[in-house]
């Protein structure tokens, strides 16, 4: 046989033919433990509820009640023209509150525009939380002081931030976990993918909480994804996916707390899908009747997070009427204060426009500031 120039025998390193798998092949992780349960995890109304610290349940309850009142109050403020816009989390309070309560003070929260309640439940002044939506500034608080990243509007872009921060904290040897919140729609963005991949490769101490509230504005989940569940995306990054009933505050809290603890002990990131529902329209500016029927909303009202928890507490005698009343009263007080404070016009200085664009004002900005200053002065004179 005349050896052709292309015969493989000529290749260096030739050895006997072995029908073996490709040399590099070894699955690096077993996919089985990464897969979410087939059904959303629930605690309330199940055996598991008995194991939960009653004080935690009572605390969750008080926060849910306060959270609902916060939502209704903020929505009312849009009608009074005191908020430019409000994306309500009514119906999603269990996720919002559990997210806040699952974190230690040193941890970081990365909220989206819908998650002002999570920030408030974490202890942020509601007026500061609502600054963005009132329109007097962008971020109304100091993120470092509260360890709450700015409310994020460009979808999913906060997720890589959370990964980077968690990674940096780990590199510095700090015991800090980042919890990042995103909607079902946000999971379609490239930034979601990139963030989860970085998190898994770096084994960063970060927890991703997807609130699947059924819609991205008008677009239902079925047009957003064909996946078995959003939690199933986890396996493609090599991190565990958990599926939880997002209206069951005890379940959300437990799943989040587990994931936070896992991240804290170096176990890496977790993706959690909380199945919930956006009871209100996308924002006050949206008209939800254009894309969904009232009967669907009704079904979900029957699965209300406050109702679920109140029943548990009542049936097990963990709360009495006074407890219920105290929670409601506290919520009312918060709402009254918020209403009153938001009814005051914020004091604004137009010259702030030129502050904090750079560490030091550039010459160009100084010129422009002078121009505005002169205009304002002239206005003042003619007033």
């Amino acid at each position: 046989m005349r050896k052709s120039s292309m015969s493989v025998q000529e290749l260096p390193g030739a050895t006997a033919y072995r029908p073996t798998p490709p040399p590099a092949w070894q699955p690096r992780t077993d996919p089985a433990p990464l897969l979410p349960d087939p059904e959303p995890y629930r605690v309330l109304g199940t055996q598991a509820a008995g194991a939960v610290d009653p004080e935690l349940l009572r605390r969750l309850y008080r926060e849910l009640v306060r959270g609902r009142r916060y939502n209704t109050q903020a929505t009312a403020l849009t009608k009074q023209g005191r908020l430019a816009v409000y994306p309500s989390s009514t119906g999603q309070e269990a996720c919002e509150v559990a997210a806040a309560l699952a974190l230690e003070e040193r941890d970081w929260l990365f909220p989206s525009y819908r998650d002002t309640l999570a920030a408030v439940a974490r202890g942020l002044d509601p007026v500061q939380a609502l600054t963005l939506l009132r329109g007097d500034w962008h971020t109304g608080y100091d993120p470092r002081e509260h360890r709450i990243a700015p409310l994020c509007t460009p979808l999913a872009t906060q997720l890589p931030h959370a990964v980077g921060l968690a990674h940096a904290a780990r590199l510095k040897g700090d015991d800090v976990v980042a919890l990042a919140m995103v909607g079902d729609g946000g999971t379609s963005e490239g930034d979601f993918h990139e963030a989860l991949n970085f998190a898994a490769v770096w084994q960063a101490p970060v927890v991703f909480l997807v609130q699947n509230n059924g819609f991205a504005i008008s677009v239902p989940l079925a047009k957003q994804t064909a996946a078995p569940s959003l939690a199933h995306k986890a396996v493609g990054y090599g991190m565990p996916g958990r599926l939880v009933d997002g209206n069951d505050a005890a379940a959300v809290h437990e799943v989040l707390a587990d994931a936070v603890a896992r991240a804290r002990r170096g176990g890496g990131p977790t993706l959690i899908e909380a199945v919930t529902y956006r009871i209100d329209a996308h924002t006050n500016a949206d008209d939800a009747t254009r894309y969904r029927g009232e009967s669907e909303v009704e079904t979900w009202r029957a699965h209300d997070p406050i109702r679920l928890l109140e029943r548990e507490l009542t049936e097990r005698g963990l709360i009495d009427d006074d407890g219920v009343k105290a929670a409601a009263d506290a919520a009312e007080t918060m709402a009254a204060t918020l209403r009153e404070r938001m009814n005051a016009d914020p004091v604004l200085d137009p010259m702030d426009l030129f502050e904090h664009v750079y560490a030091e004002q550039t010459g160009q900005l100084r010129e422009q500031a002078a121009q505005l200053r002169a205009e304002l002065d002239a206005e003042g004179e003619t007033r």
Partner: protein, 340 residues
């Protein structure tokens, strides 16, 4: 304006710019089955500004499609659709939410015709609601036209009138080139008498329009700043200035002819836009006008633009947006002393 109402033929009623845009897509879809609309919430909801209202109901979900929430995916799949001979009209929900699609726009949409020596043109219209003045929270009011202008291969078009909204969008969709179609958000609800059934023909993409002739100085502007300049010109008469207003209509191609003819007539010019000044469209416009009309100029071409800052929060935006006073201040700085 008041006489126009009297002279209107039947069917001419006040229409908003949003309605004219909707009608443009509607008519394009009716005329050409290869026209497809896609984007976030464009179907059932009809878009957050209702500009695609009714299209899905009339033409079906396959012609007007609610996509998953991913702008690079929207524009990227539109590229593939165009490769197969469709004419996608893509809606980016807000200016700042077009940024995730930037790579697809710059590296593919703008260059595909050139890369393939004409073998694979991409007749894609990218509709981008842009600019401020609507009280939007951050990321909802960017003027992003400078990015698109700096990208060869794209047409960049922006209507300022109801007639143009219809006419230019029809043209954009019919164009065999990709067009970034910038819709001034705060003009969506502006109204003018307009006949949806016999829409007036408009000048083609690439031609500027003199919206108001004048002899003292030329205001060069586009999109959301056109009404501001018209108002300024009106107010300027009190100062004895007769200002000309040129509405560019298309930033690319740029109508040097119309603009320079105007500036040569008046010898003075101010460029007005909402976009930040530094690195914004006004620099290019002032520079090319000066290159071409240097010896006709009595004063440097001035610019009135948004400040060089991130777009401000709603409660402060009025201080940022170029308004009538700021335009008149600039006109006053056109070295009129030389005149007397």
């Amino acid at each position: 304006m008041s006489t126009a109402a009297v002279q209107q033929p039947a069917g001419v009623k006040p229409a908003t710019m949003a309605q004219a845009l909707q009608r443009a897509m509607h008519d394009a879809m009716a005329d050409d089955p290869s026209v497809h609309v896609l984007g976030e919430d464009v179907g059932t909801l009809g878009g957050v500004f209702r500009v695609t209202d009714g299209l899905a109901a009339e033409f079906g979900d396959d012609r007007c499609t609610d996509t998953p929430l991913a702008e690079a995916g929207i524009l990227g799949t539109a590229v593939g659709m165009a490769m197969y001979g469709l004419r996608p009209v893509v809606e980016m929900q807000f200016d700042a939410f077009a940024y995730p699609a930037f790579e697809q726009l710059i590296s593919h949409v703008a260059r595909m015709r050139n890369r393939t020596r004409g073998g694979m043109p991409l007749p894609i219209t990218v509709r981008v609601p842009y600019g401020g003045g609507i009280g939007g929270v951050e990321h909802h009011s960017d003027s992003s036209e400078a990015y698109y202008m700096a990208t060869p291969g794209l047409h960049v078009v922006t209507p300022a009138t109801v007639e143009d909204a219809y006419g230019l969008l029809r043209e954009a969709i019919a164009s065999d080139d990709p067009v970034v179609f910038l819709e001034p958000k705060r003009l969506y609800w502006s109204k003018a008498p307009w006949s949806p059934d016999a829409p007036a023909a408009v000048e083609p993409i690439g031609r500027a329009a003199v919206r108001r002739p004048g002899r003292s100085a030329t205001l060069i502007t586009y999109g959301p700043s056109v009404p501001v300049c018209m108002e300024a010109a009106e107010a300027a008469t009190a100062e004895g200035w007769d200002l000309e207003v040129v509405d560019l209509r298309s930033l690319v191609p740029f109508d040097d002819e119309t603009v320079c003819a105007a500036v040569r007539r008046t010898g003075r010019a101010v460029v007005v836009h909402e976009s930040t000044g530094f690195g914004g469209p006004g620099g290019e416009i002032a520079a090319r006008v000066t290159e071409r009309c240097f010896h006709h100029l009595q004063a440097p071409v001035l610019r009135v633009a948004g400040f060089d800052i991130p777009y401000p929060p709603p409660m402060l935006e009025r201080h940022h947006l170029p308004g009538v006073d700021r335009v008149l201040d600039a006109v006053a700085r056109l070295q009129w002393e030389a005149e007397s």
